[in-house]
């Protein structure tokens, strides 16, 4: 929570990169190339047990279930994604 200087804020529409060899590899495949909305902003978190370095700010991104699976229930998936995987999407596009 110390660093909240990330690029995105709650409610921003984002897209996850399809590929990102230099990014944090812990980004699940099923959300790659998918659109979501920023659900929470965590800032830069140190995690010395699992990462070698310090990663970019972390967000929890909300995806419609129908965006990431073939299921059409009106439910949602909330996935933690680091900033280097995200790009802004125009809300109306």
């Amino acid at each position: 929570m110390r660093d909240t200087s990330g690029k995105y804020k709650i409610g921003d529409a984002v897209m996850v990169a399809a590929e990102n060899p230099a990014g944090n590899p812990r980004t699940p495949r099923y959300i790659r190339g998918k659109r979501g909305v920023i659900g929470s902003v965590h800032g830069i978190l140190e995690n010395v047990r699992d990462h070698r370095g310090i990663h970019k700010p972390l967000y929890t991104v909300r995806f419609d279930l129908s965006e990431v699976s073939t299921c059409h229930d009106q439910d949602s998936l909330w996935v933690d994604v680091h900033e280097e995987w995200l790009s802004a999407v125009r809300q109306d596009s």
Binding site: L65, L77, W78
Partner: protein, 202 residues
């Protein structure tokens, strides 16, 4: 022999080792139940737990772990939350103890994000009402999650100690609800005493 070597080389003192031994063998109530029961009975604590996670635990007597940021998500009449780690098995084990076997199982980790309602119905016999939104939280190590289950009906006037017994591991992952008092009595009668996971302090 090993202990003597540690002391001789100054890597540890006898007092430190004794304290560690005590810490590992101390009997204490399972933190999952203690935390949830307090949240059900103390609105200020509940608010703090939901907004600050681990910070809120610092003030109460439970063992406070240090694995990642802790986020607690609240089940309500409108939302049912389920936790998964699709990549491996990220779990707040430092607070809740040993991870249940099914949480690590590939079938759970794949199906819960493909068709969550079907998955909880088939695996846990849980029918989430259609009017509730189901939210699946996929943890990727930096943030660890658990669910604050809804307080069961018919528990008015129960003490925190009694309420804590209604809290199951499954209910903290969203794979179940907290037990109703009669369910808890039936379980206790069936197996003598309640089973709770082991927590290994850091």
């Amino acid at each position: 022999m090993f202990v003597q070597a540690l002391i001789k080389r100054g890597w540890s003192t006898r007092e430190q080792l004794e304290q560690r031994w005590k810490q590992l063998h101390e009997q204490r109530p399972w933190a999952g139940g203690v935390i949830v029961a307090k949240a059900w009975t103390d609105p200020d604590f509940q608010q703090a737990l939901l907004s600050t996670g681990r910070e809120a635990l610092r003030e109460m007597g439970v063992h406070q772990g240090k694995v990642g940021k802790l986020v607690v998500v609240e089940n309500t009449d409108k939302v049912h939350n389920v936790i998964v780690c699709t990549l491996c098995s990220c779990y707040p084990y430092d607070i809740l103890g040993d991870t249940p076997w099914w949480y690590k199982h590939e079938s759970y980790r794949t199906q819960i994000v493909q068709n969550p309602r079907k998955c909880v119905t088939e695996m846990f016999a849980l029918d989430i009402p259609a009017e509730k939104e189901l939210r699946v939280w996929d943890s990727t190590s930096d943030v660890r999650y658990f669910v604050l289950p809804q307080r069961p009906e018919g528990t008015e006037g129960m003490s925190e100690q009694e309420l804590a017994k209604l809290v199951t591991v499954d209910s903290l992952i969203g794979a179940g609800y907290a037990l109703e008092p009669r369910e808890q009595r039936a379980r206790e009668a069936a197996r003598g005493e309640a089973e709770t996971p082991r927590v290994r302090p850091d």
